[in-house]
């Protein structure tokens, strides 16, 4: 089972390199990328400084695998990559990198929406929103 987790934030270098690796795949005509970024929400007058992510890693990687298979079944894609952070990711940093490629734009536009919604709903990842004073609240996807 592929490990979709990376410790800490997903860097712009990593994302750029991943895009560059697709230059040899000349049957691709369209990429679509979703980047989840940690937002500095204000909660009860305190600003979120970071999110600390944890997960049931084995179940989560299985869920990523199943979502990946389902997305390939539903859409005509050439390739797909998913990475999610574990540990502390500061506000403004990237915590989710989802990347789909196909011959045509409409496939990837539909696929990325499906993929991200499935990840948010079905992957057992948990998050603590951390404040500067050391307190925290648990994040819940709406």
């Amino acid at each position: 089972m592929k490990n979709c987790f990376k410790e800490g934030a997903i860097s712009s270098d990593f994302i750029g390199t991943s895009i560059a690796h697709h230059q040899v795949k000349t049957n691709i005509g369209a990429h679509q990328i979703f980047l989840g970024q940690v937002r500095a929400d204000s909660i009860d007058g305190k600003e979120v400084m970071a999110i600390e992510y944890s997960a049931h890693e084995e179940m989560a990687n299985k869920a990523f695998h199943d979502i990946r298979e389902a997305t390939f079944d539903k859409f005509d894609l050439t390739c797909m990559h998913i990475y999610h952070s574990l540990g502390v990711v500061k506000t403004g940093e990237i915590c989710l990198f989802a990347f789909v490629s196909s011959k045509h734009r409409k496939e990837v536009q539909r696929a990325i929406e499906y993929l991200v919604e499935e990840i948010k709903e079905k992957v057992p990842i948990f998050g603590k929103e951390l404040f500067e004073d050391g307190s925290f609240v648990h994040k819940v996807n709406l």
């Binding site: 944890s54 299985k62 948010k120 079905k122 990842i125 948990f126 998050g127 648990h138 996807n141």
Partner: protein
């Protein structure tokens, strides 16, 4: 049968532990895990959570089944 139970996210914080061993007898029939855990940890009644048995989401521990792991999963927050 002793089964390692893992607690995640807000459940781990609320119960102040990340895992514990529980003993189940399933030879006589199924066990309702939600009732079982909420009897032992009443604070769980205030939390929205899912139960996974051997990585499958269910509230029921089947009869005569080998159980490797139970996990209590609070609401997901990925992305």
């Amino acid at each position: 049968m002793k089964v390692e139970t893992h607690y995640y996210g807000m459940i781990s914080d609320r119960l102040e532990r990340s895992s514990e061993l529980h003993t189940f007898e399933t030879e006589g029939g199924t066990v309702n895990l939600r009732d079982y855990f909420e009897t032992r940890h009443p604070e769980l009644k205030e939390i929205n959570y899912k139960i996974a048995v051997n990585h499958e989401i269910t509230d029921i521990l089947p009869a005569n089944t080998e159980i490797n792991e139970i996990a209590l999963l609070p609401p997901f927050a990925g992305g």
